[in-house]
Symmetry: C2
Subunit: 358 residues, 2 copies
């Protein structure tokens, strides 16, 4: 269907196939820490960049050229999904994060949200994927993504980011049926959206549950995990399992075993668990991604290398391992340090002795 | 030494002694959710309230009268410690959180910080404790507190709150000796400060490590846990163990066993772990406090009771249990819901059957 990949390390790592070294990429790698991104951003608004395939493709490819990562991730935003469902999304320059001026609070609003296939409303994303695939010309895989239902729910009900998401949780705890109705609608749309991305050429997809960590374990299972599992099932079924799925639930280390059991291929880790412990909890049938404290990119080449090597030593072998941070790369990072991380990751397992017996 | 306590449930719970029911209090219970607090606050600045024993005592006692909690916690702020060490602390009305306009970045600044006994600079706190003890007249115990070294370090080096504390972590990762020098100074001061609070009449003290959760497990052990353990040791030694010590490291569920092993009496829990699992990890020799999602206070009396009862069921018996939220109570909470939580907590174990065998 498409050009053969020259570097398919990420896909082989996700499928637990033999790899000569572990691949590396960054969450939010097409971003403000790169002067070349800021140059594009200076001429266009954020949403204009998201909605214009030509611009999205340009910044998507930048880190492949500039930082040397083993994958591109399509430049977009998780909040395009609620927008496609009918919500008005506002991103005002220099006024904090994106917001929905009319948050979802009533049953009537939930009922009125579009729950159909979003590929018409989100054709700019699938077009951007097609264009990026063309431009990449097989150099590295392209990652598609979506926010997880709970994280989208949290933004849609609060109307914006929040310290404690207590308005969103109020709906979870006091209006259980409404909450599940909205989460169900979101799951259906997210599944269709990921399927559309894979059909457009995404080689692998990631589900981001950025706000998983604000939920207690029982609530996470009821309001997040259940829906992620359903999405994984639907996507695998409708795409004949042709693209691996990465699930990243930040702050949900209490449920790593259950996450691995969703049928996903890769579990993303934040940095608040030892990767050896995560591996012991999850077993050898699911790959692991991430685990580095993003603040390490504010240090020096030697500290970065040391911290990268520690993760490799604890992971013991590159099989089923994808280097990444435990959260998105932040705007103040020096690109030289991002490159140092990539260099260190590419050689980290050279330094690890033969696997110890466990 | 002081009036005999009429209600010493908190102290008996902390010491694992038999109790007829589990005590309940709230972190940040003297706060903006109470109209009576806001009435005092309308006439005085935050720092004026902190520094005036008469005002501090007044708002410290409010939740005992108004909410029915089983303990008072002295009204103060964790940032009085860096201020006592020589930093200029600014709290501007309506301008976000407190900040230090001259953050600690250089070795020279660390060297210049006062590291002696802070009881002269913080006599307003010990005076407030003495006055509050008088006013309480033995009704309930009084809790003293301090920020943990890492949390204080994070504010002092950043100069204010932060999303990722990358400037503070930069010092941890690249200037290890400077970081340990500052943490060592902070530990000495915090230990002396807690000893002074106990000598002034605090019946029990809590160490708050609000930002524990931003550190990876290894970093938490090196830069936080080690110093907390030293503080616990020093305080116990200098006060003949007469006041129990609660340690609350938010987001450090990866290290609960190690926290319990510091010699503290109570481990505080956030809401991202099942309390039964925490009990299994920690064992029966240390009491447990907290574990409720603070957002539950935005629901209804019946939801609150249900969630309180679930914690009691999982804890199985009141021995060694202190009801609390997993973080501070927030300003928008309806005081009626705080009272509902207290009522539910006071009867929760009535509904739990005889302990199951484990």
């Amino acid at each position: 269907m498409s050009t053969k990949l020259q570097n398919d390390l990420l896909l082989r790592a996700a499928r637990l196939e033999p790899i000569e070294r572990a691949p590396v990429w960054f969450m939010r790698q097409a971003g403000r820490y790169l002067p070349e991104y800021r140059a594009v951003r200076a001429k266009h608004s954020f949403l204009e960049m998201v909605r214009t395939p030509e611009l999205a493709a340009e910044v998507t490819i930048q880190p492949v050229d500039l930082v040397g990562v083993d994958a591109a991730i399509i430049f977009s935003d998780i909040l395009v999904v609620p927008e496609a469902m009918g919500m008005h999304l506002v991103v005002e320059e220099g006024k904090g994060g994106p917001r929905f001026p009319e948050p979802i609070r009533l049953y009537k609003q939930i009922k009125e949200l579009n729950a159909g296939d979003p590929r018409k409303q989100l054709s700019y994303v699938t077009d951007a994927i097609k264009l990026t695939k063309e431009r990449l010309n097989g150099r590295v895989p392209l990652i598609g993504f979506s926010g997880a239902p709970w994280t989208l729910f949290a933004y849609m009900v609060e109307g914006q980011g929040s310290k404690d998401f207590h308005i969103a949780k109020q709906m979870l705890f006091t209006r259980n049926e409404d909450a599940h109705l909205l989460l169900r609608k979101l799951s259906d749309v997210v599944a269709q959206y990921l399927i559309a991305q894979i059909e457009a050429g995404a080689d692998i997809v990631q589900i981001f549950d950025t706000w998983a960590g604000v939920l207690a374990p029982d609530d996470f299972k009821e309001f997040s995990l259940e829906y992620i599992a359903e999405i994984v099932r639907l996507v695998k079924e409708h795409t004949q399992n042709r693209a691996p799925i990465i699930v990243f639930c930040k702050g949900a280390n209490h449920s790593l075993g259950e996450l691995a059991a969703t049928g996903c291929d890769v579990v993303g880790l934040d940095w608040t668990i030892d990767i050896a412990e995560a591996k012991a909890l999850i077993g050898n049938d699911v790959a692991l991604q991430g685990n580095m404290d993003p603040a390490v990119l504010y240090t020096t080449e030697s500290v970065i290398a040391e911290k990268v090597n520690t993760i490799a030593e604890r992971m013991e072998e590159p099989r089923g391992h994808i280097f990444n941070l435990g959260h998105g790369i932040t705007p103040e990072v020096d690109p030289a340090n991002a490159r140092a991380f990539v260099r260190a990751a590419k050689t980290a397992y050279d330094k690890v002795r033969a696997p110890r017996s466990v």
